[in-house]
Structure formats: C-alpha cells, structure tokens
C-alpha cells in the first residue's frame, strides 16, 4: 500500500489498470462500484470454474486490494462470481463496457442510490404526439415563464397543449396557469402516492384542469399540476413520490405510464414537461427516457456552463447518445436588453465549447455522417434560441391580470424562441393532421 490515499475519481482508473494486467483470466469482467464507491470484481461462472487459476485470482485480489485503498475490499472479499448472483441476473443489464483490449471486455456496473436514469434507454413510447421537456441546470432563469408564454402562443395557433408540472420540489407552472378556483382536486404527487397502493386510476379523472389563460383562443392549454386543491399534506406525499411501486416499476416507468394515459384520453398536439432545475432524477427521466425534445435553458455564466459540462460528460457514456443529442436545443435565457448581439455572440461561443467537448463528434464538419456543427450554423443545437429579458415577465401573473398575456410582449421577448421551438418539436409531424 502506498502512502497516498486513493480518492473516488482515481479508484476506477486504478482498478482498470490493475485488471488489464490479468487479461488471460476471462473474456468478460465486470467491475462493480457500490453505493459508497467501493469497487469489486465480478467474474463469470462460479468459483469452481477457476480452480486451475486459483493463484492468479489470489494475486489479482491482492493487487486490487492494495491499489484501491479506501475504495477497495480485503482480498478475500474482492471477487464475486456471476453464478452466485444468478437470482439477480437482470441486475447486470445496466452495466456498460469501459474498455476492450487483449481479448477482454471490462464492464462497469455502477450501483447508485439515485440518478440511474441518466444513462438508461428511452421507454418504448406509445405517444403519437410530440413532447418537449424544458430544463435548466439552475433555477430562476425564467424556464416556467417561457413555457407558459409558449403554451399560450401555441393555443393561439389552434394547438391543444397539455402541460405537466414536474417541478415537484418547487411547483410553479401549476399556480401560474391555474387560479385557485380552477385547480383540480389532485395533482402529480397525489398520483404517485395513490399509484403506490394501486389506486392511481381512481384519481386521474380529478387531476386535469383547463387554464383560463387560453380561453378565447382556437386551441387550449390543459394542465396536470403538481398538487391539487385536496392534496392536503404536501411534504409527506412528496417524500414518497420517488419510491418504486410494489410491482418494482421504477419512478420513471411510472411517470411514463401516467403521461401516456393522459395523452390517450386528451389527444394533445404537444405535451410540455416542466422539469425541475438541476441534475435530479426527474430531469434524468424527462430528458433521456421519455422521447421528448429537450430545451436546455442557460444563462451565460461560468457556473452554468460548468454544471452543464458535468451532465454532458456523463452522457458521453450513453449507449443511445446518437439519438439523444439529436433532440436537444440550448436556450439563451434572460438575454439583457442592451448589447444583445454581443451577449448572444459570447453565449454562442460558450455553448459551442460545451457541445464540442461533450456531444459533438471530433471531426471536421464536412465529414459525412458526423454530428458536429460550425460555430455560426443557425440550425445547430448550440446556436441559442433566445428569450429576451422583459419587464412584463418579472412577477409574471397572467391569470391575475385582466389583459392576460399581451401578444406584443410575447413576440418581443420570445418570438425567435417560439419560431425555433415550434419548428423543432413539430418537425416530422404532418401539419394537416395537427389541425
């Protein structure tokens, strides 16, 4: 054991380096990283299969134990065998390949308490309507306000919009779109709790309300709020929301199921998911698993880009990265009133850096089939759709104000954003069918 402590971020590299020295041992090896980050080895078959390699295994266990420090185990606990885990075989399906060399594939099986959904495949979706997720890595940038104005604009154009307030920890869209008297009895937190005991269907008819904001337009805005007028105790319900159900359906599967059931009944032209800000399980599901188009809100600050780069770098491991990155668009939020051009130019450069580092292919843009874009390509995911700062959007309470939303203000603040977002989410949707 060397005198240097091993920290979390070094442990995996050290484990890989150590295991690669033993490449004759097996064709497939899995590193299991547990809740605390400690790493063990999972070998295919059972201990009996390795009888003639006992000395090699002993050396490997000792080497790993020495290399990993606090993130390892004593040598005798270092090796697990697949066969002993046969009962939990489907637990292995979440592993992904870290390294392939010398005829050996090394996988990582990352056991986490939360955040598993970021890298999982999308659900087999049954929705015929498009979906859009509005996400921000930090809150307070006007994401929910933008959602409301966009929904209103779509209703003006005759679209049926269905909104889900998934920002359960700080529900906002619900209250802005629905005055108290228009609230349905229940909301999303109630559904997750009731569904946990098999009663979700009993409250779905009482979870949907029509927003008065779009009255008088050709389309409509319906909303499934985070809570309803009969929700009662919010916190004890919220604390139970993220549990798996008795049938062991994950939180994400349950959410997909709920959204799909409303889509079947309402037949909307577009579903908008207001995702909570930050790197949270709700966002993981709404961005990567629900086949939605993601609008990623950002302000031009170092902390925002840093937080996004954590996320993008995590996605590099995603098995379906090529699909995922096709459905993303960065949004420049709260663009100041002065020096707009200069501001957006800087924003664009920073966004380009982010996408090149995380999601674009490292080849010249003219290479065939490469997913990469020039800095000034207006159709690129990094080329921001802007939302301009507007006085009327501060303390925005459109349902409380007689005039509701002014078309002129909406166009000034969000015209460019809405044109772009409309094009992106309805791409491939036959306009004749969509009224």
């Amino acid at each position: 054991m060397s005198g240097h402590p091993v920290f979390f971020e070094q442990a995996l590299t050290k484990a890989l380096e150590t295991v690669k020295q033993f490449h004759g041992l097996a064709q497939e090896i899995t590193l299991v990283r547990d809740f605390r980050g400690r790493i063990r080895l999972l070998l295919p078959g059972s201990a009996v299969d390795y009888r003639n390699k006992e000395r090699t295994i002993k050396r490997l266990a000792a080497a790993l134990s020495a290399a990993l420090g606090g993130y390892g185990f004593p040598p005798e606990q270092m090796i697990l065998y697949n066969e002993a885990l046969a009962v939990a075989a489907n637990e292995l399906s979440d592993r992904f390949a870290l390294d392939q060399s010398d005829g050996m594939t090394i996988h990582l099986l990352d056991r986490q308490i939360t955040g598993q959904d970021w890298l999982k495949d999308p659900f087999a979706s049954q929705n015929s309507n498009p979906r859009a997720t509005l996400f921000g890595v930090k809150g307070g940038v006007g994401r929910s306000t933008a959602l409301i104005i966009w929904a209103w604009h779509l209703a003006q154009r005759g679209k049926k919009v269905l909104v889900f307030d998934l920002d359960l920890e700080s529900p906002g869209v619900s209250s802005t779109l629905l005055p108290l008297e228009a609230m349905p009895d229940f909301g999303i937190v109630d559904w997750f709790v009731e569904d946990g005991v098999g009663q979700g269907d009993l409250i779905t008819p009482e979870m949907l309300a029509v927003s008065p904001l779009a009255s008088g337009s050709r389309g409509d805005i319906k909303i499934v709020p985070a809570f309803g007028s009969k929700t009662g105790e919010y916190l004890p319900k919220l604390a139970r929301c993220y549990a798996q159900s008795a049938e062991a359906a994950s939180w994400g599967e349950r959410l997909e199921w709920m959204v799909t059931s409303f889509e079947r009944n309402e037949q909307p032209d577009l579903v908008l998911l207001d995702s909570r800000a930050g790197v949270h399980d709700i966002a993981a599901v709404a961005i990567t698993r629900m086949n939605a188009f993601s609008l990623l809100f950002a302000v031009d600050s170092a902390q925002t880009w840093r937080a996004y780069s954590f996320l993008f770098n995590h996605w590099k491991r995603h098995a379906r990265l090529s699909d995922l990155r096709q459905r993303m668009q960065i949004v420049a939020a709260m663009v100041p009133e002065t020096n707009r051009g200069e501001h957006l130019k800087r924003f664009r450069e920073h966004a380009w850096d982010l996408f090149r580092e995380g999601l674009y292919d490292e080849v010249p843009a003219e290479a065939a089939d490469a997913f990469t874009f020039d800095l000034n390509d207006e159709e690129a995911p990094h080329y921001p759709a802007p939302v301009f700062w507007h006085r009327a959007l501060q303390e925005f309470e459109p349902c409380a104000q007689a005039e509701g939303i002014e078309g002129k203000m909406a166009a000034e603040a969000m015209g460019l954003f809405m044109d772009r977002a409309d094009r992106l989410v309805f791409a491939g949707v036959d306009e004749d069918n969509a009224k």
Partner: protein, 141 residues
C-alpha cells in the same frame, strides 16, 4: 457462537435444493423457510436492525420471528431511500411463506406436499435475490 446470517442463508438454500432435487419435500421445505429467514435478517442487520441486548444471538423485537411473520415485517422495517429499494422486491400482500411453520418439523412427512415445497422454494429464491442485490450494492460486505 456468533450468528452469520449470510452463510446460514446460503447453506440452508444449497441443502434445501439438494433435498428438493431428490424429492425429499418435507425437509427441503423446512430449509427453504430457514434460508429465506436468514437472508432477510442478513440484509436487515446491515440496514441497522439491532440485536437483543439480553440475547445477543437474537434480533431485537419484533424481528425475532420466523419467515412466516418476518416476510410481512420487512417492508415496514425498511425506511429511507436505501432500504426502500429492497422492500419493493417483496410484495407484502403476497407472503409465500404464509403456509410455512417451523413446527412442521415435528409432523409426518406426508403433510408436506411437493406443491408446498415448490412455493417455498420460489419464496426462498426471492429472499435470496434481495440478499444478492444488497451484496452488489455494498450494503452487505
């Protein structure tokens, strides 16, 4: 002697399967029940279940019970994000060990049918899955 629920769960399970494969239903059935009990107690101990201060080889009340009762206790015991994960692997509405009783060891072999042994084998496999998943997670070393 100190308790080792994890090893006990494994050896009872292995021996129960051995007896089951040669049609010794009554004793296979008995050991499947003990195996499931030990598997759940191993996980509960790792998740913070205490032992009885007066009898250090027994769990604290109300967990000093056999699998016919313990199966229903487990979901109530499991609280917090980590433990809830294991609780959902077991359906408290459907206790596969409802018809299992530790005192059946005193009964005639014909009382224990193949159907009973099969059902309890399935229950023991489910309890074992909880144990194995907890091992992967590092909750149990």
């Amino acid at each position: 002697m100190p308790v080792d629920y994890r090893d006990a769960a494994t050896r009872h399970f292995e021996d129960a399967n051995h007896l089951h494969s040669v049609g010794r239903w009554a004793n296979a059935d008995h050991l499947f029940g003990l195996s499931a009990e030990c598997a759940l107690k191993a996980v509960m101990l790792a998740l913070g279940m205490g032992m009885d201060p007066k009898k250090p080889d027994k769990p604290e009340a109300p967990y000093a019970v056999h699998i016919d009762k313990l199966w229903m206790q487990f979901p109530a015991f499991a609280s917090g994000r980590q433990a809830a994960k294991y609780a959902v692997l077991m359906d408290p509405q459907l206790n596969p060990f409802q018809s299992w009783d530790v005192n059946q060891r005193y009964h005639h072999r014909s009382e224990i049918t193949r159907e009973m042994a099969d059902q309890h084998k399935d229950g023991a496999e489910r309890a074992r899955a909880v144990l194995k998943i907890a091992e992967l997670d590092g909750v149990i070393k």
